[in-house]
Amino acid sequence: MSEEIPVWEVFIRPRNGLSHKHVGSVHAADEVMALQAARDVYTRRGEGLSLWIVRSNDIVASDPSDKEELFEPAADKIYRHPTFYDIPDDVGHM
C-alpha cells in the first residue's frame, strides 16, 4: 500500500496564538483525502483548531551523519544563552 499511496506529515495548531506542531503522519491518495484522514486520525479528542498537511517527500531533512558538523559547534558556546544578566527583582517574571 505504501508504494501506491503517498505519506503526509500532519501538523496541528491546538489554540490561537500557538504554532502548528508535528503530530504524526497519514496515508492518503491526495491532499483532500490527506486532510480528512488527518482530521479523523489526530483530532478525535479536540486537539486542534487548524491542520496543516505536507507531503513527506517534500520535506528537506538534514542528514543524520552530518550531525557533528551541524550541531556540535553549538555545544561550547554557552554565551549564546542569555544567562549572564542580573535581572533586578522588580522586573518580575521574564
Binding site: 483525502m33 484522514a37 479523523d40 486520525v41
Partner: protein, 252 residues
Amino acid sequence: MNNEGALFNGLLRLSDDHLVLGHRLSEWCGHAPMLEEDLSLPNMALDLIGQARTLYAYTGEVEGKGRDEDAIAYLRRESEYKNLLLVERPNGDFAHTIVRQFYFAVFMELFWQKAIDSKDATIAAIAGKAVKEMAYHVRHCGEWIIRLGDGTEESARRIADAIDALHPYTDEMFDVDDTTQSLIDAEILPDSSNLKDEWDSLIGRVFAAGKISIPEQYWPKRGGRRGEHGEEMGFLLTDLQYMQRTYPDMTW
C-alpha cells in the same frame, strides 16, 4: 393518531435509523482497508450512535412510560424497529458502505437543516448539532465516491455495483404517511418528500464528478417503516442486543 403518538413514532423511526446505521459502521472497526479509514468509519458510527442516544432518550420521555434509551434501543422485537431498509443493508465492500453512508448523510443533512426551525425545541437542538456531523459525512463519502468512480477499472465497477444494489432503497427516505404528515402539519418535523429534488441534485453533482451514472430504472424497495425487514436484520439485532439480553440492565 394523536400528536404525542405521532411524535413517539416519528422519533422512533429517526432513532432506529441512526442506531442501525451506526451499528453497521461499527462492524468495520478493526477491518477497514487502511488505518485512516479504520478510524474514519467508527468516527462516523459514533456520530450516529450519539445522535441515536439523544433521540431515544427523547423518545422515552415523550412516551412517558419510564423506558430509558437502553430499554428502547435494545429490548424490542425485530418488527418493532422502524428504520429504513437502506440503513440495515449489509456493509458489503467498502464501496457499498460509502454509497449507503452518502445516500443517508445527504438526506439527513437536508433534513436537519430544515429541522433546526422545528417548533419542538428538543428536535431543533438535536438538529443543530447533527447537521455539522452530517456535513462531514457527506464531504468524506462524497470525496471517496468521486475517487472510486473515477479511479481504476475495479473501483469504478465496485461503485457501480454498490449504486445498483442500494439505489432502490432510497425512495423510502422521502415517504410521508399519516404519522409524518401530522408532524409536518404541526411543523415539528420537515416534509421529507420536499427534500427529494435537492437530494437528487446533490447526489448527481458528486456522481458527475466521479463519472458515475444514476440508475434510470429501478424497483423501489420499502418496508422498514412498517417494521418489515430483510433477513439480515435478525442477525444485526442478535449482535446488537446480545449484551442487554444476556445481562439484563447491565451498565458499563
